[in-house]
């Protein structure tokens, strides 16, 4: 920590020929995407392993509570201290045998060993961002080295768990395509994490000169203490104001009023509460009536007590579950950035997801019957989460697939425009009037014929699909209205199937395949010719759409003058280090950029 880290861009030193000084504790080079190895924040062990130590210390202290009490008592009232005499305590044994020095030395040695171990772990935990890959290597005995290709990055998540957030640390998660394919960088100082995120997204986009900009406002660190105080201030400010919206144009942000968010969750929770409450009330009434008729009021009282004993914990559980749902999605905001949609949510632990273009495999707009009077909608997506199968089951993973937890029609339209920027204007009536609100006479949706109504007894008039040049639209559900959009460029396949009953009626089922997620692509009871058309047309259109789709390297086709985007807005608010390295994808080398380059217009 004593070596002064040269912050700010250093034009004299080309990044490729960097000497070993780049691996400095506080980040020696201005650009972290320079192909050199870097370390995590020095406080990382505190949050990763240190918690265990604190717990152990807590157990020890709680076990020594008696001793502390007796020590206090003897301090103020020496006569009373004798009553707490007890045996078998290791501390007594140490004191009796005059081993206090040895024990203290032992504790000290243990502490030193732990510090050294943590320091070693921290030292060996390094990451590197090259033009093609992001890499993390860690471990001393069991070494692991993970490398993820940048053009397959499915998103970048910046998570700020509550304790780390107060100190100004964040965890960066590079979402890969596959099971357990994420690369996690934990923990980093928040400004560094943000600049790394920008680097990764910029490199992944394949942008050449498009969005290179110089954050000249990078403040040099005054020292470790001042830095820590500053980041703590920022953390506390962030607690109050919300985070990670400094660099987007404020008018483009979709926010959800807290009242609506709470209301939307409450509507559903209340339904369940009423449902279970009715069951409990009915059973309790039954018991009471029975007891009164039998002339045994005690039984009734017991039943009443049992009812409350079940009901009150249940109410508490409802409150807890609802609160956890609400607090997770509070302060939801969605904003466009040049490198994708940025979704931020969370009250205490905040999560910021960045979804680059073309990483969304399916989108679904849904509305339950309870939400219909309020005109509320929700939007879910199918995407690669890069998590292992076990992680995908958790509630956090479900959150990961929600883009808009609840919003009015205007919000839905704006969010759809954000996450499906390539969708042509001509598809809008298909989505809204014909799709979500349909059916309309003469709309292009291919639905279930009347003879096969029994496939979907209620929604058969709505149940169907339509194909545009952009995507496949699936319209389903009547009470729970759903409209799914599968972009053709991301379609993984189509299948049709027909059983004997279907064949008698001349209908067939179909399915549009996308990655695992909350949106299924199944349809049933389509006209046989419509199903064949689905198999024929969608597959061909998918190939054509994929051929003209470049979103896996979404920045490379952008003109430099149009790629300015909103990331430069308020970039001065960031104290993060500057991105100076410029990567030219096909050439395979770094082109050093002079730090005096003007920011993109």
């Amino acid at each position: 920590m004593s070596t002064p880290a040269p912050w700010g861009p250093d034009p004299a030193r080309p990044p490729a020929a960097a000497p070993s000084t780049t691996v400095l504790p506080e980040g020696g080079s201005s650009s972290l995407a320079d192909g050199e190895w870097h370390r995590m924040h020095p406080l990382t062990p505190l949050f990763k392993g240190g918690l265990v130590l604190i717990i152990v210390a807590g157990v020890v202290i709680s076990n020594m509570r008696e001793r502390l009490i007796s020590w206090f008592v003897s301090l103020f009232a020496p006569d009373e201290a004798k009553y707490m005499d007890y045996g078998g305590d290791p501390v007594d044994w140490v004191l009796d045998n005059n081993l206090i020095l040895v024990v203290l030395l032992g504790v000290l040695a243990l502490a030193v060993v732990l510090v050294v171990v943590f320091w070693m772990v921290w030292r060996f935990h390094q990451f590197r961002i090259t033009g093609d890959h992001v890499e993390v290597r860690k471990g001393i005995v069991f070494r692991s080295h993970r490398r993820a290709p940048l053009d397959r990055v499915q998103g970048v998540n910046l998570t700020r768990p509550f304790p780390a957030r107060v100190i100004g640390l964040a965890k960066l998660e590079v979402v890969g395509a596959g099971n357990d394919a994420n690369v996690e960088l934990e923990y980093l100082a928040t400004p560094r994490a943000e600049s790394i995120r920008a680097d990764i997204l910029r490199l992944a986009s394949g942008a050449r000169a498009a969005r290179e900009h110089d954050r000249a406002g990078a403040a040099a660190p005054a020292g470790v203490t001042a830095q820590l105080v500053g980041s703590m201030n920022a953390g506390v400010n962030g607690l109050i104001q919300g985070v990670d919206l400094a660099d987007v144009a404020p008018e483009s942000v979709v926010k959800i009023p807290t009242g609506r968010l709470v209301g939307a969750h409450l509507v559903h929770s209340l339904l369940w509460l009423v449902f279970f409450g009715a069951i409990i009330a009915a059973s309790m009434t039954g018991i009471l009536i029975g007891a009164v008729r039998d002339g045994e009021p005690e039984v009734g009282l017991i039943g009443l007590g049992a009812g409350f004993a079940i009901g009150i914990p249940m109410v508490l559980a409802f409150v807890a579950v609802t609160w956890s749902q609400i607090s997770k999605s509070l302060r939801y905001s969605i904003a466009p950035t040049p490198d994708g949609v940025r979704i931020t949510y969370g009250l205490l632990t905040t999560v910021t997801e960045t979804l680059p273009p073309g990483r969304i495999f399916a989108v679904e707009v849904t509305q339950s019957l309870l939400w219909r009077p309020f005109g509320w909608w929700a939007i879910k997506i199918n995407r690669m989460s890069g998590k292992s199968a076990a992680q995908q089951q958790s509630g956090n993973a479900q959150q990961f697939n929600i883009v808009l937890p609840v919003g009015k029609r205007a919000d839905v339209e704006r969010v759809l425009a954000l996450i499906l920027p390539d969708a042509p204007q001509s598809d809008i009536p298909l989505v809204w009037e014909h799709g979500i609100l349909g059916p309309v006479e003469g709309d292009p949706y291919k639905t279930i014929p009347a003879r096969a109504w029994w496939h979907r007894p209620l929604s058969w008039k709505r149940h169907g699909y339509a194909v545009t040049e952009f995507g496949v639209l699936l319209r389903r559900g009547v009470f729970w209205r759903k409209l799914a959009v599968f972009p053709l460029a991301r379609l993984q396949g189509v299948s049709v199937s027909q059983g004997p009953l279907d064949r008698l009626q001349g209908v067939s089922g179909g399915q549009v395949h996308s990655v695992t997620g909350p949106i299924s692509g199944t349809l049933s009871g389509l006209e046989r010719d419509d199903a064949i058309a689905l198999l024929d047309g969608v597959s061909r259109a998918a190939a054509a759409a994929a051929a003209r789709d470049h979103s896996h390297r979404w920045g490379s086709h952008l003109d430099p003058s149009t790629g300015s985007g909103t990331e430069d807005v308020a970039s001065a608010a960031h104290s993060g280090p500057t991105v100076a390295g410029l990567y030219d994808a096909p050439a395979g080398g770094y082109a050093p950029m002079p730090p005096s380059a003007p920011p993109a217009p």
């Binding site: 704006r414 189509v494 199937s497 059983g499």
Partner: protein
């Protein structure tokens, strides 16, 4: 036809089509510049030629596809390639071994431990196996795959028909597996993996040469048409 298998896969200028234009967002504040008005595009033209099927695909296979008789059944125009009759023999041998094992196990339990009930589960398993064996030749004749311009279609089933179309560019890997008995009969199974777990196309009972030729064809075509995921 903007592309033939020999052109490099990622040529951004080769695909300039009017459909790239409708980038105009639904809201003006999105960071995408407004573009030319939408030009309605008719049915998209195929991206490439249908790959030429190597003749080895049809050597030593069934020649007549078994399909449902009803005119309402699912059907596609084109040439279906079929699987090898040796697949049925291989399956029969495997099932025969399985049947023998069950009978032996049941006999042991019956004679050594005098448990007669063991014939109930054993009989059930035998019955299921027997039914499978009876319909197996029909099923094998109903399996087929077709190499189309943009995708490969796999079909199976007669009573319950299923057809899956997988665009070439979506294949993440093509896998050939072969069990010990399969090797004895010279057949293997080909599996195509995409990013979607549900697609899961597995073609069993291909001849050894056919499987390798098909794999090479698929990979070659996929290479020229790959984009992102």
């Amino acid at each position: 036809m903007t592309e033939s298998p020999t052109t490099p896969p990622r040529d951004p200028h080769g695909f300039e089509q009017p459909t790239r234009a409708p980038e105009s967002p639904l809201i003006p504040s999105a960071p995408v510049p407004p573009a030319a008005p939408v030009a309605p595009v008719s049915a998209p033209e195929p991206v490439g030629e249908a790959p030429v099927a190597p003749p080895v695909l049809d050597q030593g296979t069934y020649q007549q596809l078994r399909t449902p008789r009803s005119p309402a059944a699912l059907a596609l125009d084109g040439t279906w390639h079929q699987i090898s009759p040796r697949y049925v023999i291989s399956e029969y041998v495997q099932n025969a071994i399985f049947v023998v094992l069950i009978v032996v196990a049941a006999l042991v339990v019956h004679l050594a431990f005098e448990q007669v009930w063991v014939w109930i589960p054993a009989g059930l398993m035998l019955a299921v196996t027997l039914i499978t064996l009876i319909i197996l030749p029909r099923q094998a004749r109903a399996m087929g795959y077709m190499l189309r311009e943009d995708d490969v279609v796999f079909r199976r089933g007669i009573l319950w028909q299923r057809m899956v179309a997988v665009p070439y560019g979506r294949m993440q890997l093509v896998d050939i597996t072969q069990g010990p008995l399969d090797r004895a009969f010279g057949i293997s199974q080909l599996k195509m993996v995409t990013a979607a777990a549900t697609t899961g196309v597995q073609i069993p009972g291909l001849t050894q040469d056919g499987a390798e030729a098909l794999r090479d064809t698929l990979i070659q075509v996929a290479e020229t048409r790959r984009t992102g995921l």
